[in-house]
């Protein structure tokens, strides 16, 4: 294998490997993690490939230190990431909140696995969807992307790095064991065709005490370490200059709202959905691996002359509520498909139920992908 960042070509590649290649193509220099099924292939590939391009993967003592090291490395100006699964995310949550609080770009890949606690490591479930949004304490906004194929494991990892850099925030890739271990065609484009972003940093010559490096809804320049910015970085409540303020409620209000507004203000640029529901009365809403079954079900339904369309959420967070509303105004029936007990369903229902009838279909057994034929049976009964 060569020391090139972008391995341009056409491959039969595993989703997890494609994710690692996406990270390297996006300019990742530092990765840290702890072994966990079903995410290990990403770590293995990064451990092999990053040193060839001047970076490195570090196996830490636990997931807590993995995310901490990633944040530390990001503050030195390096694009950084960690890869794990649900139990690892549970351990990382406090420091993910830290990354949000001090506005640290980084990418967190969660190859989701089955059930709460140690569960069933080799089975894909979309069980951590709300955890990504609400798992760390306090109010915050997060960006999360849900790939549906190995090709998207590659592409979305690049999008995740770009969003992280643009908005100075952690970005989740919410994959699962099915996608992680799925092998499909992956096309890696030429390096020039891959767009990469890099965070803004303060202009030279500004006295360090005058640098406003935090809490700007338009994203403050990041006073990265080692450049003489004399940055004071604290996750405790602080102002635009990074000065700790643990006394004024107005400072707290400012701290919480600015962090959230920074993401919400740019929702339109961040949110990506895939729409195929023109003229449809029934719309299947899904994301991730399940979207593959939804697409197939819609295809078969249309062949039978049934008016079925799809809406796929690529960014699940920030939640694309306007897109849901637009879809629901047109549809008579909205069917939400998830490989869980209904995690995003309440959010979709909250937006769609005013305009259409909303229902939820889990797979026959949680941990299976939906059978398109069963989706079709439900649709046929619905429109009887």
């Amino acid at each position: 294998m060569s020391g090139k960042r972008v391995l341009t070509g056409r491959y039969f590649m595993m989703g997890n490997v494609a994710c690692a290649e996406g990270a390297i193509a996006a300019g990742c220099e530092f990765a840290a993690g702890y072994p966990i099924t079903p995410a290990t292939e990403i770590a293995n590939r990064l451990a092999e490939r990053l040193p060839q391009v001047g970076g490195a993967f570090f196996q830490m003592e636990d997931e807590i230190s993995a995310i901490a090291a990633v944040i530390g490395a990001s503050w030195t100006g390096r694009k950084s990431m960690t890869v794990t699964s649900g139990p690892g995310i549970s351990l990382m949550l406090e420091n993910i909140g830290f990354a949000i609080g001090v506005e640290t770009p980084c990418v967190i890949v969660n190859v989701q696995r089955g059930a709460p606690t140690t569960g069933m490591p080799t089975v894909g479930i979309q069980g951590d969807m709300v955890q990504a949004r609400r798992g760390s304490h306090g109010d915050y906004e997060i960006i999360a992307l849900c790939p549906s194929s190995p090709q998207e494991m590659f592409e979305h990892t690049i999008v995740a790095f770009n969003d992280a850099e643009k908005y100075r925030t952690p970005v989740f890739i919410l994959s699962d064991a099915f996608l992680g271990h799925m092998r499909e065609e992956v096309i890696i484009p030429e390096a020039e065709k891959i767009k990469t972003e890099y965070r803004k940093i303060p202009a030279e010559g500004i006295p360090p005490s005058e640098i406003k490096g935090f809490l700007d809804e338009e994203v403050a320049p990041m006073p990265i370490f080692g450049k003489g910015f004399k940055a004071h970085v604290t996750s405790s409540c602080h102002d635009e200059y990074g000065r700790r303020n643990l006394i004024d409620i107005s400072a707290l209000d400012h701290f919480i709202k600015k962090l959230s507004h920074k993401i919400l203000k740019h929702k339109e640029e961040i949110i990506i959905v895939e729409k195929d529901y023109e003229g449809a009365e029934i719309v299947l809403v899904s994301y991730g691996a399940v979207a593959r079954a939804a697409k197939e079900a819609a295809l078969r339904a249309r062949k039978e002359g049934l008016p079925v369309g799809t809406l796929r959420l690529i960014t699940v967070w920030p939640f694309p509520k306007e897109e849901i509303e637009r879809m629901a105004r047109q549809a008579r029936w909205v069917i939400v498909l998830e490989n869980n007990l209904g995690q995003i369903y309440p959010y979709i229902k909250a937006e769609a139920a005013r305009f259409s009838e909303v229902s939820f279909i889990p797979p026959k057994m949680i941990g299976q992908l939906h059978d398109p034929e069963e989706i079709l049976t439900t649709i046929r009964e619905m429109i009887k």
Partner: protein, 277 residues
């Protein structure tokens, strides 16, 4: 007008007008020892990245030191410092935090980075108590002491932090008390120059949450107590475990050369990219 300026004043962040330390706290003495060591070596604060956790000692560099400072979550500063050192290997990385932060909640990161022998300075301020939260027992609180969470006296054995870090594989370990400011400064100088994991434990008085509540007394009484209980590494070598009970073994416990992580990583990258070492 008074024209006198403290010789270390230039190291203070201009926006800081006061410290958060209680009267009699040892943290100010440790801040001075660190800054004197840096000054004596002819270094500048821009040569350093400071990292701290949660607790009183974590507020020694944050926001006081006019440098890049990362004030992190509880127990994790060494793990954050790992990423910083890997990102900026040419800079000195110094972690300053307390015993609760580094040894209780963060103990795993302490021993693993000592094992890795990654080049960084870790200064562990051991006041034997959780000061900031109001005097709860720590893994360093001596047996039998009444604290807010041990109203009938502590019943747990304590950690010998310096011995722990020595056993974990650090290449430099020293232990002093705030009654030894000059010796402490000298050890910090050595630690900064050490190519490896350099750990310094400093016994430091907390007259408010420890001294007053346990009856050990005022800051001065605590410093006198430290002097009385301190015994050199050499002298300690001649004593039995029973005779060492209640003593503080001060001095440099470890000063050795061994493979250092940042250097090893550099070599590994050269191997991976096909360059010659």
């Amino acid at each position: 007008m008074n024209e006198w300026v403290h010789p270390l004043h230039r190291f203070k962040r201009p926006t800081v007008v006061h410290t958060t330390f209680c009267p009699g706290c040892g943290d100010g003495m440790i801040a001075q020892a660190i800054l004197r060591a840096i000054d004596d070596l002819g270094m500048d604060l821009d040569d350093f990245i400071f990292v701290s956790g949660i607790g009183c000692a974590a507020w020694i560099p944050s926001p006081l030191f006019n440098a890049d400072v990362l004030h992190t979550t509880h127990g994790r500063p060494i793990a954050f410092a790992f990423g910083i050192k890997m990102g900026l290997p040419e800079k000195k990385v110094m972690v300053i935090s307390g015993d609760g932060d580094l040894v209780a909640i963060g103990g795993n990161h302490l021993i693993h980075n000592a094992r890795r022998n990654i080049e960084m300075v870790v200064i562990c301020v051991n006041n034997g108590i959780y000061g900031m939260t109001g005097g709860q027992a720590a893994p360093t609180t001596p047996m039998g002491i009444q604290t807010t969470t041990t109203p009938y006296g502590t019943v747990e054995n304590t950690f010998n932090i310096s011995q722990l870090v020595k056993a974990a594989g650090a290449s430099f370990v020293a232990c002093w008390t705030t009654a030894h400011p000059r010796q402490l400064t000298n050890s910090i100088k050595k630690a900064i120059q050490k190519k490896g994991f350099a750990f310094i434990e400093v016994f430091s008085q907390c007259p408010i949450q420890f001294g007053r509540k346990t009856g050990v007394g005022s800051a001065i009484q605590m410093l006198e107590d430290y002097k009385k209980r301190s015994i050199s590494v050499q002298e300690a070598g001649t004593l039995s475990e029973e005779e060492l009970k209640g003593k503080i073994v001060v001095g440099e416990l470890v000063d050795i050369e061994k493979p250092e992580l940042v250097e090893e990583i550099k070599k590994m990258k050269q191997r991976a990219s096909g360059e010659k070492e």
